[in-house]
Amino acid sequence: MFAQTTLITRWCLLLLLCIPVLAGLVGVVFPALGYFPAIGANTFSTAVFIALFSLDDVWQMIWLSLFTGLGSTLVAIAGAFFILATFYQSAMLGKIQGILSPFLVFPHAAAAIALLFAFSPSGLFARIAAYASDVSLPSSGGGVFPYDAFGISVLFALSLKELPFIILMALSVMSQPLMQKKLTGFAKVGTTLGYSPVACFFKLVVPAIFAQIKLPILAVLVFATSNVEIPLILGPNNPSTLAVAIMHWFNHIDLSMRLLASSAAVVQIAVSAVALLLFLGIECITKHIGKRSLVSGKRQFVDGAVQMFGVAIIAFYVILISAVVYIVLTYSVATQWPFPALFPDGLTLLHWETAVGALAAPLMNTVLLGVGVSTSSLILVLFTLESEQLRPASTYAAKAFTLSVFFPLLVPGVAFLYGLVWFQQLVLQSAVWFHTYIAHMVYVVPYVFLSMAVAYRKFDNRYAMVAQSMGKTPWQVFFQVKLPSMLYSIVVAWALGLAISFSQYLPTLLASGGTIPTVTTEAVASASGSSTRLTAVFVIIQAVLPLIGFVIAWCVPAIVVKTRGKSAPALKDKSRKGVLHGA
C-alpha cells in the first residue's frame, strides 16, 4: 500500500514539473509562429522570426547571452575547483562554506543591487579611492562596472553567485560515504606516489565527481544564459542580453511586440541549448587533453598558482561581503551621506519605518507561500525518493526521471513563464494563489529534490534492513527509522525550499498578475524606484528572510533530538552534514 502511494506521488511530481513547463512552451511557441488571436493574429507563419532576425542588434544580444552565461559558468567552475583544490583536505572547508553561504542564499536581484552599492562610481570602493585621492565628485562612468557593453560586469556578478552553488554541489557529492571512501583512497595512493594535493585533486578527485555534478552545472548554465535580474540591474542596454530584451518586449506597450517576444523566447531556448552543447564540447576537449595529463606523470599541477587563486578568491569574497554588509546596513539608516565620506552625516530609522509599514502584507504572503510550497514539495520529494528505493525503476527510466526533475531548470524561465500565464488564463483564471503556488513549486521541487537526494544516498541502508528484519512495515521503516535519522537534512531541504520560494520574482509577478505582492516583488519594484536607502532596507530584509529558515533548520533537530532522548543516528547525521551545508 505504502509503496503504491509513493509510486503515485512520484508520478504526481513528474506531472507537476512537466505540465506547467510544457503548457508554458506551447504558450510561447504559438505566438512565435504568428498565432495570437487576442490581437487579431490568426495565421501561422515564420514572419515573426524573420522580423526578429532583421533587427540590427539581435546577434549582439545572442552573443551577450552566450558570452555572459557560458563565461560565468566556466569562471565559476574554475574558481570553485581552485578553492576546493586548495582547501579540500583542510579543516577550513567548513568555514569557507560559511563565508560563501551569504551569496548562496541571497536572491539574485538583491545580490545585483548589493554589488551596485559596492562597485558603482559612487559606491563604497569609489568612496575609499576618492577619500584617499581627495576627489570631491564621483567619476561619471565609462568604467567597466557597471553597464559595460561587453557584459563583463554581468559575467562577474553571475560567477560570484554561481561559485558557491557549484562548491556546495561538489562537496555534497564528495561527502557521500561511498564516494568519500573512494576519494580518500585515491588521495592516499596519489600522495604515496608523490603527487601534490592539488595534483591529486585535479587528476583523481575531479574526474571522479564531475559526472555527478554535471547536471546541476548544466542547470546553472541555462540559468546564467537566461537570467533576467542580474543583466537588468548591471548589464548594458545598447543592446542588452536576449533575456532582458524578451522581458521588455513582453511588457511593451505595443501589444504586437508579444509576437516578437515569443519568437525571441524560442530563440532563447536555442541559445541556452547552444550554450549546453558548447559546454559539453569544452568538457570533451578538456577530457581529451586531461587524459594525456593524467599519464604524463607530472607530480605538480601548477600548485602555486592554483593555491594562490584559491586563497585570493576567498579573500575577495571576504572583502566583498564585508563591504556589502557595511554599505547596505549603513545606507538603510543613513541621513545625508555626501560623496566621498565613508560615514553618513547622521543616522535615522525613517527608512525602516517606511519599509516596515509597507511590508506587513507582502511579508505575510511571502511566508505563507514559502511555507506551503516548501512543505508540500518536501513531502512530495520524500515520497518520491522512497518510491525509488521501494520500487526501483530501470536505470533508463531512472535517468529519464532525474532529467525531468531538472526539466524546469533546463528550460529558460523567461521562455515558458509568459506562456504559462496565458495557459493559466484558460484554466481556473481567478485561482491566483493556486497558480502562484504551482509556479513556485516548479522551481522549488528540483532544489529540494537535489538536496534530499544527497541525504538519501548517504543514508546507511543497513538501518533499514535491520528494522525490516525485525518485522517493520515499509511505512514504519520510512517513518520511524529513515525520517528521524535524516531529520537534519530534511529541515535543511525545507529551509532551502523556503529560500528558493522567497527569491522568486518573475514567477510570482506573472502567475499572480501582481495581486500577491511578496518581499521580492516589492524589492525589485523599489530598485526601480528613487530611494537608495529604501532599496537598502529591502535588500536586508530579502537577505535575512531565507536565513531565518536556516536558523530554524539549525534549531529544530536539536530540540527534537532532545525530546526523543536517545536518537543516536540523528545526532551523528547532524555533525556530519554541518560541514556539508554550512548555512
Binding site: S140, G142, P239, I253, T375, V432, G514, T515
Partner: protein, 442 residues
Amino acid sequence: MIRNSLAGFLLPTTALSLSTNTLPLPVSAFLGPWLLLALLVVAPLSLAAVSNSAGQSTSQSTTADGGTRKVPIVRFHAWGGSAQVNGYLQWVAEQVKQRFNIELQHIKLADTSDAVSRVLAEKAAGNHHNGSVDLIWINGENFAAMKKHNLLSRAWVEELENFALTNPRYNTAMTTDFGEATLGMEAPWGKASMVFYYRSAHMKSLGLMPPNTIRDLLRFSQKAPGHFTYPVPSDYLGISFIKFAVIVLNREHQSLFYQPVTAESLQTVLPALWAYLDALHPTMWQAGNYMLRQASQLQRLVSTGELTLAFSFTASEIPSAVTRFDLPEDVRTYVMQDGSLANVHFIGLTYNSSNTEAAKTIVNFLLSPEAQAEKQKLAVWGDDTVLDMSILPKGQQALFENDTIHDSALDKSQQTMLLPEPHASWTDALRDAWYARYGARY
C-alpha cells in the same frame, strides 16, 4: 470554514484564521501516510477552490445590498516606485474603508504596461467579467493602447458627481489625454509639469551655472561631461525630454505638434533634434553608451552625486525627497526659460472589472476636494489638483493653501510658460525615430 480561510487569503492582516488550513500540514506528518497524501492533494486544490470562490464572492458583494457583511475589493494597479504616492494611496485606502466600507488594494507596478498586458491576456482568454485589474493609473500611450484594444469601460466618468468640479466643458485638458479624446474611459487625477533640479554645491565646484535654455544645456554638458543624462524614450520621462527638446528646437513649426503626425511634419522637425542629440549624447553620463531605463533612477544618481543636473515631472517630489534624505540638501529646483512641458494623468476603469460600483465610488472620492487637497500637500505627494479652483466654494479653496516653502522647492511665484503635450501620435513617431537612430537600448 471556507469563509474563514477565504478571509485569510484575501486580507493577509487577518490571516490568523488561516491556522486551520495551513498548520495541519507539518503537524499531520506524524499522523499517517494516508492523511498526509490526502492533505497533499487537497491543499493545492483547496487553494484553488478558495481563490476561485474569492473571485465570485467579491462580485456577489457588488450586487448585494449594503447591509451584507462582505467587503468589495477594488484592485488599483498603479506604479509603485514612489514612497509618496504609495503613502497617499495608503491614506486613501483607510479613508474609503472607513467611509464606504470598500477594500482598496494598491497593486504596485514597476511598469504600468504590465497591467495593460494583464488585461489583454484576460481578454484573450475570454475572461470578460472577472478581471484582476479594476482601476489603473495611466495616461498617454498606455491609454492609447487600452483604448485601441477596448480594454476600458466607456462613459463612466460623467456619472461621477465630483467630475463636474474639474469644469470639463471649459477645461478640455480634463477630457483629452495627449491629444486623444478620453470618451469617459478615464477620470483626471492630477497635473504635472516638467522641472529641472541640480546640485548647487556641484555647480559651484564645477564653476558653472544651471542651464536656462536647451542650448545652454548642451554647453553645460560639453563643459562638464558626464553630469547629465536622460532615460531612454520607452520611459515616460525620457520621451518627455525628447518632446521638450523637439518642441523648443522647432519654435518656428509649433503648430505641427498639435496635429496628428505625418511623415512630412516629422521630417521637418527631426533634423534640428538629431543635430542636438548627436552633440549631446557623447557628453552624457556613461558617455551616452548606457542610458537609464527608468526615470526614478535619475533621482538616485543625483543623490549619489554621479549626476549634477536632472529633471522631473513632479516638482514636489524634490523637496520631499530631501526631507527623506533621498536627495542632498544642496538640491535646487527651477524651470527653464524655454518653458515647461505639462500634462494630466488619469485613472481608467477596465472593461472586465467585477466591482465597477465600488471602483467608481473610489474614483469619485479621489476627485473630492478633500482627497485632492491632501494629494497636493507637499509633505504628502505634492501633485497638482485637477479641480477648477474658480468653481470651488471659498471653504474648499482654503484646503489647498500651500504649506511652508522648502529651500529645494520650486519657486512658484515665478511665471512659467507651459508647453502642452503634442498630439499622442507624436509619441510613437518620435520614439520609433529615436530608436531607429540610436539603437534598441532595451
